[in-house]
């Protein structure tokens, strides 16, 4: 047996030996750490209070396997390896959840995953591989910002005033064709949680927004152009702010001057270009929308559903399920210096986040009570990367987003829906998952490194099944599963064994338990 194979064994079976010891939590009982623990406890108290009022029983805490898989998917975008899972399952320290979360947030995969998530939030889904390539520059830019944990208000400001194209948010502006009305609609949805676009054509039917609010916001984007506009097709997405250009109400000559929605602040008293004026207002301390939207995003990212639902439509008719919680978390976020990473960590260490997604009660509690963890769809990127990991297939560098196969898979699987508690995949995509790569390569004995490692003669069937289940589900098989698959394997000729293990891995890879985050 090759040395590589031996090393693989060590990794698969001896887990805790093979991985680095979990980082010892820095026992700096800093002010912010104390505040974080207090805020986490407060979250749990407020959620519990509401459950008590509604007379609903909360689900018990998730098993260790369920928790580590969920935390990995939510914070670093991929499932854990067999070794990482084993190490976590064997760890008996009472603070192991907190230490896992802190460790994941320090991983270089964390900013990559956040950048993926935000790119999806910012750009319409596309199934065009060329557009996915164009998005790479914005992806890199976002990753850089998240990697240095730039203050969130600074990130928003830089986004709203960006001029660089290919290494910045330029493609967002290009995708909106530099049109003031599209830019106004999208930026207010993304950063303010306001859906103003209905007010584009008429006064908003359910909200206080008037047509003038919409076009007043659009006016801040009325003075943009791309330098040398003749190179549009050349994938250069730089932007220049001019000092001319206005918007008019549709089918009228009336020019609408810039105005901040819901505010009487005078834009002209703020210096700079129109976009700089807008950015100053958006990130100002008394802007009521921006930090609430960020908090609601973070909550929805972790819990599958915002405190206001849908997470990007925080209009009055969508009342928050826990108004007090939203207010207090927003205060906390502002006081932390708009620290997005700390916000995610605070939510991730709560018991609320650690609840099981299994059904417990007789009747189903409404999702907005957060009595149990939501079941979330994986993003196409998560799904692809998880499939590579389960077969121990070589993938591209995690920071590199230009793998052709991955782009093709992501393009095919991208969905229009933004609610991740829905599974929007269609039948053509399901066929591609079942019969195409990477599942076909991950489950074939010729290409799957996992199956090659499992072919070693000294392993028992039970050991093999343990590894398969840990790889796919981050848990060991239960008795019924052990019986079922042992029986299946016992009917197979010895030379068909690797293939039969591949069949089991195929079954697990196409199952809801694998394809969903729970």
């Amino acid at each position: 047996m090759s040395r590589n194979l031996l090393r693989l064994f060590a990794l698969l079976l001896l887990g805790s030996l093979a991985i680095s010891r979990p980082l010892v939590a820095e026992e700096v009982e800093s002010d912010s750490h104390v505040k974080m623990l207090a805020m986490a406890a407060r979250i749990d108290a407020l959620i519990q209070q509401r459950l008590d009022t509604e007379n609903v029983q909360a689900a018990p805490l998730a098993s260790d396997g369920e928790f580590i898989r969920r935390a990995y998917l939510d914070l670093v975008g991929n499932i854990p390896t067999v070794a990482q899972t084993r190490a976590y399952l064997e760890d008996n320290a009472p603070d192991k959840r907190q230490r896992l979360i802190a460790q994941l947030l320090k991983s270089p995969a964390h900013p990559t995953h956040l950048a993926n998530t935000w790119r999806t939030l910012i750009l319409e889904p596309t199934d065009d591989p060329l557009q996915l390539r164009n998005e790479a520059g914005m992806q890199r830019w976002l990753r850089g910002k998240f990697a240095q944990n730039l203050r969130y208000d600074r990130l928003v400001e830089e986004f709203l005033t960006a001029t660089q194209g290919n290494n910045g948010p330029g493609y967002f502006y290009a995708a909106q064709q530099l049109k003031p009305e599209l830019l106004a609609g999208e930026t207010s949805r993304i950063f303010l949680g306001l859906q103003l676009e209905c007010a584009q054509c008429h006064d908003h039917p359910f909200d206080r927004w008037k047509q003038h609010d919409f076009w007043g916001l659009a006016a801040f984007f009325a003075q943009l152009e791309r330098p040398g506009d003749d190179n549009v097709g050349l994938a250069r997405f730089d932007i220049v702010d001019r000092n001319q250009g206005e918007v008019t109400l549709p089918e009228s000559e009336e020019i609408v001057p810039p105005a901040f929605p819901g505010s009487t602040a005078n834009y002209a008293s703020l210096g700079g270009t129109r976009r700089q004026q807008l950015a100053i207002w958006v990130v100002s301390r008394d802007n009521p929308f921006m930090p609430r939207r960020a908090v609601n995003w973070a909550w929805a990212h972790m819990m599958g559903r915002g405190i206001v639902h849908p997470a990007d439509d925080m209009s009055p008719q969508n009342a928050p399920s826990h108004p007090e919680l939203l207010d207090e978390l927003t205060e906390y976020f502002i006081h932390s210096g708009f620290d997005l990473r700390l916000l995610l960590e605070t939510i991730a260490i709560t018991d609320t986040y650690a609840r099981s997604s299994q059904a417990v009660a007789d009747s189903e509690a409404p999702a907005k009570l957060f009595a149990r963890m939501a079941v979330k769809s994986l993003t196409p990127e998560q799904l692809y990367d998880a499939m590579l990991k389960v077969g121990l297939l070589k993938g591209p560098d995690e920071a590199l987003q230009n793998d052709g196969n991955r782009n093709q898979f992501v393009a095919r699987m991208r969905t229009a829906g933004k609610d991740r508690t829905q599974f929007d995949t269609g039948m053509p995509q399901a066929l591609a998952v079942m019969n195409g790569p990477p599942v076909s390569t991950a489950t074939s004995p010729e290409t799957s490194e996992l199956l090659k490692a499992l072919s070693a003669p000294f392993l028992s069937d039970q050991q093999r099944l343990n590894v398969l289940f840990l790889a796919a589900y981050s848990r060991e098989p239960n008795q019924a599963e052990l019986d079922r698959y042992t029986q299946f394997l016992s009917q197979v000729e010895p030379q068909q064994r690797p293939q039969a293990l591949g069949d089991i891995l195929w079954v697990l890879s196409n199952s809801a338990e694998f394809m969903l985050n729970h």
Binding site: D127, A359, V375, F423, T425, G426, M434
Partner: protein, 439 residues
């Protein structure tokens, strides 16, 4: 009642039929009986002419005028209704055709025109609209079905696929795509095109027996998780994957398997991807699939004849005529033509004037679409252009009206509403159906 019972019951509600119907022995009988079933829903076949077909050399000819070009008109089985000499097969079925000579639209770019004609909307707005195939198939679907409701044959992969996609309806309403496999047709113009569904067949090295063993284990694995984790996403995953499994069943998959047809039949449609695509469309309509789109011109956007218009249009016209006329004849023989509406269109028309390189350029101002078959009063031309073909003088038709007419013809109210992500109700078409051509 405990949680298991609840989830189990819900599981059965969503997937019972799917899991139960391991055998699809009823499919061939269904196909045979399709025409005689009074409850039978209707179908729609969109013949998409990628590149923008010239109206002046096909259905709105200008003989005697300088713009007229090289082709002659032919008489048809409808007195007074004439079109290109290269449509010999269609000329015998002109009584099925309603020719709309007054099309007038506002997009002259391939991507934008493709989007406009598929969705009824100009591109660039805040919403990503569904293609007519997605919204109509959603409205026409026969409840639970083994086969997809929307199938696209030979779709162009160069054109932005958002123009052909499900838009805000979501991927569940996306077309299942059928395309050329291998390079037989590309290398040898006389070889029979080999068409199939992506990822429908088992990966190499996996036989049916092993596949079934996998599925048996998979079903147990699924039902265990469904019981412990009842949630929308879990149920949707189980349902969609089970539908895909059903479609892979040999009897369902055989709908796409053209080797089940005799060489004689296959050749009668024409050996190219378009003719073979029309044959797949017939097989799918026989099995109740509501919407099939078959593209002619594909990635080469073949109808985009800026240079050397005439030899190209002659070749494409003959390919079109053979596939289309055989399709209508075979549907009629099965009593299916009266419930199947056919729509012929491209992204725009072409200039009546001939340019310096014997070509015709993009021209959305005055051009032609054709509706045929079920729900259509055939044997007529609706609307007309002036002598030069440059202007519509009567029966001006916009894309919304065309789509509304198509909806009516297939028995769907064009005002049927679907909901955008902002929960705004959006009608399939805001246009007015053209009563004169509805049968």
């Amino acid at each position: 009642m405990n949680a298991f019972d609840i989830s189990r019951r819900r599981f059965l509600q969503t997937s019972a039929g799917l899991l139960g119907a391991a055998s699809c022995a009823w499919l061939p009988q269904l196909a045979a009986a399709a025409g005689s079933d009074p409850q039978r829903k209707r179908s729609c076949i969109l013949l998409w002419m990628a590149g923008g077909p010239t109206q002046t050399d096909t259905f709105d000819m200008k003989p005697g005028h300088a713009n007229g070009g090289e082709f002659k008109e032919t008489e048809t089985n409808v007195p007074g209704l004439r079109f290109s000499e290269h449509f010999a097969g269609l000329a015998k079925q002109a009584d099925q055709l309603a020719i709309l000579r007054g099309m007038s639209t506002k997009e002259g770019d391939h991507l934008r025109g493709t989007y406009l004609m598929h969705t009824g909307q100009r591109p660039g707005g805040p919403l990503n609209y569904p293609a007519i195939g997605a919204s109509l198939s959603k409205a026409m679907a026969n409840g639970e079905s083994t086969l997809p409701n929307y199938v696209a044959v030979n779709p162009s992969t160069l054109l932005n696929s958002s123009a052909l996609g499900p838009g805000f309806l979501g991927p569940r309403y996306a077309a299942a795509t059928v395309g050329a496999r291998g390079n037989a047709a590309a290398n040898d113009p006389n070889a029979m095109a080999d068409l199939g569904v992506d990822f429908l067949s088992l990966p190499p090295g996996l036989d049916q027996k092993r596949h079934e063993a996998r599925l048996a284990l998979w079903k147990e694995q699924q039902s265990q998780f469904l019981a412990s984790h009842p949630a929308q996403a879990v149920e949707a995953q189980a349902t969609i994957f089970q539908s895909a499994v059903k479609m892979m069943h040999p009897e369902a998959a055989s709908a796409f398997d053209l080797s089940k047809e005799s060489t004689e039949i296959r050749e009668s449609y024409g050996k190219g991807t378009f003719g073979q695509g029309c044959l797949i469309a017939r097989r799918l309509v026989e099995r109740g699939v509501p919407f099939v789109e078959v593209t002619l011109g594909g990635n080469q956007i073949g109808w985009d004849t800026h240079t050397g218009n005439f030899p190209t249009v002659e070749r494409l016209s003959k390919e079109l005529d053979q596939g289309w006329s055989t399709l209508m004849r075979e549907l009629a023989e099965r009593d299916l033509l009266e419930t199947t509406t056919i729509c012929w269109m491209g992204e725009f028309g072409r200039t009546p004037t001939i340019n310096g390189t014997a070509g015709r350029d993009h021209f959305p101002d005055a051009w032609t679409c054709v509706l045929a078959g079920g729900g259509i009063a055939g044997g007529q031309a609706h609307g007309q252009t002036n002598e030069s073909g440059m202007e519509v003088t009567d029966g001006k038709t916009e894309v919304q009206d065309l789509l509304a007419t198509l909806c009516k013809a297939v028995g769907v109210d064009p005002k049927t509403e679907h909901y955008s992500p902002q929960a705004r109700p959006i009608k399939i078409s805001e246009g007015t159906p053209i009563q004169q051509i509805l049968g």
